[in-house]
């Protein structure tokens, strides 16, 4: 035992040591020099659904293409090094930059006062506008003033989200990928989508079911984000951008991607004025409690989804178990196949198929319904296995005694076997409920804004990942701890005689 303790404390010390030696902030050593020494520029972006910014080449997915890839290569060339992209979820690019994961971030990051409080921005390299997209047959929505009471999709953390929120009365649906809002629009789940023009140009323009409507709104700048203390790198990148602008290379890149328009001429003006064209504003320092209503609503949705899908799992699991153990083929075979398939594939994939896949064959589910069915059907497979174990744990003599008294098999299952099996399975079912509770965060991928999604949206807007994260973790804990106490109590009670 002593030896074990020794080894254990050694491991703790070792991991603590590792933790402290991992560079958490950029070193005082200058990033520009580091890039040159290293021989490549490391830039962060999210290539998942990232067209036309940076995305895998459809002809050769191992290669990234996009206008930002071209731009990064041009910048690297001017620095005398190669460019290397580092993949990171869009929501957390800025935190990752601050942590030191890469030298800069270039991924359609809009220059906003909140972000300027966090990082330095280069001169703008593109002037984006927000383009409203509707279905081809839509006639009522002509511009963003017609959006009151409509369902409008946009990206989490994008400027378009602020524009829509400020309009008031718009039912804003938040997505984390740029493909899904347009899919949902085409399917009729949304009335319109407001997103940056480059995104619309790539995803919406070629889609025959969709069309642009109204003039672009909300002009703003994309800038390259750089860590606060990297003034030298910023200066160098600004120089390079001005050079690329003047030489016409930047224009060429944009023309190649069909992104050049008259608006971009303003880049020259901005470049001439140089320096900080957007004044550093106050950080968004709203007191933390202003987020509570949103978080509590998210928690409410989490509870709703968890309870309803657990109820489905318990009932469906029971039916599957009985079919599997007492049914005849093909019913018993089907039940076994159900369990194996659901346990053998990731829940995430099941949710994607349910929500994004089924519309391909003409079945369109609302996010809430898809979440309920997806989680419920997945957990039914696990509940079924628990029941089966419970039933197998009931001694064989119980069934024989029941049958010998003239009971039919179904009466014996109902009156003698099941009551005993449920007692055996109950602690496991409660534990599964706790697991489902946390797995419910996965449904955020199907546009369901529950607690985890609420967190990632709020945190991406305010960049207050830490304090919001603690609050959200606390909320999950407050909701699941009573369940775990209940499970413990049950287990103790059921350990004893079976009554």
């Amino acid at each position: 035992m002593k030896k074990f303790l020794k080894i254990f404390s050694f491991i703790i010390c070792l991991s603590a040591l590792f933790y402290w030696t991992i560079p958490t902030q950029s070193d005082t050593c200058n990033t520009l020099e580091k890039i040159k020494k290293r021989g490549y520029l490391l830039w962060g972006s999210d290539a998942e659904g990232g067209a036309p910014y940076a995305f895998p080449d459809p002809k050769d997915p191992s290669r990234l293409i996009g206008f930002e890839v071209d731009l990064a290569e041009a910048i690297a060339r001017e620095l005398g090094v190669k460019a290397r992209q580092s993949q990171n979820a869009w929501d957390s690019l800025i935190p990752a930059l601050k942590r030191g994961d890469f030298d800069m971030v270039m991924n359609g990051i809009e220059i906003t006062p909140q972000r300027q409080a966090e990082v330095l921005f280069s001169l703008p390299y593109y002037i984006y506008t927000e383009q409203l997209v509707v279905r081809k047959e839509e006639t009522k929505i002509k511009d963003i003033n017609d959006l009151k009471g409509k369902k409008v999709g946009t990206l989490s953390g994008a400027v378009a989200q602020d524009i829509l929120t400020n309009l008031g009365g718009v039912d804003v649906k938040i997505y984390s990928g740029q493909v899904e809002p347009y899919e949902d629009l085409a399917l009729g789940r949304l009335d319109a989508v407001l997103l940056d023009l480059p995104i619309a140009a790539y995803y919406a323009k070629p889609n025959p079911k969709l069309k642009y409507t109204g003039n672009p709104v909300g002009e703003g700048f994309y800038g390259i984000a750089i860590r606060k203390d990297d003034d030298e790198l910023k200066k160098k990148i600004d120089e390079i951008l001005i050079k690329l602008l003047k030489s016409g290379e930047l224009k060429k890149i944009y023309e190649k991607w069909d992104l050049w328009n008259d608006t971009q001429e303003k880049l020259f003006k901005v470049a001439k004025e140089s320096k900080d064209y957007v004044t550093l504003e106050e950080i968004k320092k709203a007191p933390i409690y202003t987020f509570f209503p949103n978080l509590l609503r998210g928690a409410g949705i989490t509870i709703l989804i968890s309870f309803s899908s657990m109820a489905l799992a318990i009932v469906l699991g029971l039916i599957i178990t009985i079919l599997r153990l007492y049914g005849r083929p093909p019913l018993s075979t089907a039940a076994t196949a159900y369990i194996e398939i659901y346990r053998g594939t990731p829940l995430l994939i099941q949710l994607y198929i349910l929500y994004y896949g089924l519309p391909n064959i003409g079945i369109s589910l609302s996010p809430l319904l898809a979440a309920f069915i997806g989680l419920g059907m997945n957990y039914a497979a696990y509940e079924s296995e628990l029941y089966r174990a419970g039933i197998n744990a009931v001694p064989k003599g119980q069934m024989e005694a029941a049958l010998s008294l003239g009971m039919t098999q179904s009466l014996a299952i109902k009156r003698i076997i099941m009551p005993q099996a449920v007692r055996i399975a109950l602690p496991g079912v409660t534990n599964d409920f706790i697991a489902l509770f946390k797995d419910s965060s996965l449904v955020s991928v199907i546009a369901m804004v529950e607690l985890t999604k609420t967190y990632s949206i709020l945190a991406a807007t305010t960049l207050r990942f830490f304090e919001l994260g603690l609050i959200v973790a606390f909320l999950y804990f407050v909701m699941s701890y009573p369940l775990s106490l209940f499970a413990k109590k049950l287990e103790e009670r059921l350990k004893g005689p079976m009554r």
Partner: protein, 255 residues
Amino acid sequence: MINTVIKVENLHKYYGDHHLFKGINLDIQKGEVVVFIGPSGSGKSTFLRCINGLEYFQEGEIAVNDIELHSINRLRPSKEDMETIRKIRLKVGMVFQQFNLFPHMTVMENIIEAPTRVLGINKNEAVEDAISLLRRINIERKANSYPDELSGGEQQRVAIARALAMKPEAMLFDEPTSSLDPEMVGEVLSVIKDLVEEGMTTLIATHEMGFAREVADRVVVFDKGDIIEIGTPDEIFTNPKTERTRIFLSRILKI
């Protein structure tokens, strides 16, 4: 022939390739007490379980009163076969070595469960019947206890009462005292003896030779799936005809 309650004809049973019963014939008359003895694994328990449909058999016929059950396809008995087996079970009560009381029910609930749910007797009537049965086995005051609060002997007596509550025409006892502590064997055997004296048709598989000798009308000796000898207790115990019976008895009586 009129008085035959249980009739077994040409019974064959296989366990995979193992041919256990090779055509057994046995008739049991109304009110008769037949005790089955023989070494462990000789087939005496399996024989009783076949009569109650808890074991399937591949060839032959078992009849209880007028209900005839022919060989059963082990994998998938048909609906009619299942119903025939159930009808037989309604006529024949069974008591197991391991008692098999329902642990989640009280003694009273154990006894009235089948009469109310299977026979459709109303609950008050079933409770009254149960009380008189419990009085007979002398554990009336444990009616509201759960099985795990009872001694082994008490549990087995309740199991007998539970089977009797279905008012069977015959009772099968499958080694009813084999898992009991020695001091509890007597109370269970005395309940069975009372039953026998009331004229119940009774089949018992047991290792209790003294008891067999005392209550049996006929003793059936099993060995390796064969009936090697049938006779009155006197014939079997004092003057066995076969060498195998003699060896078995000498072994068991020495212990």
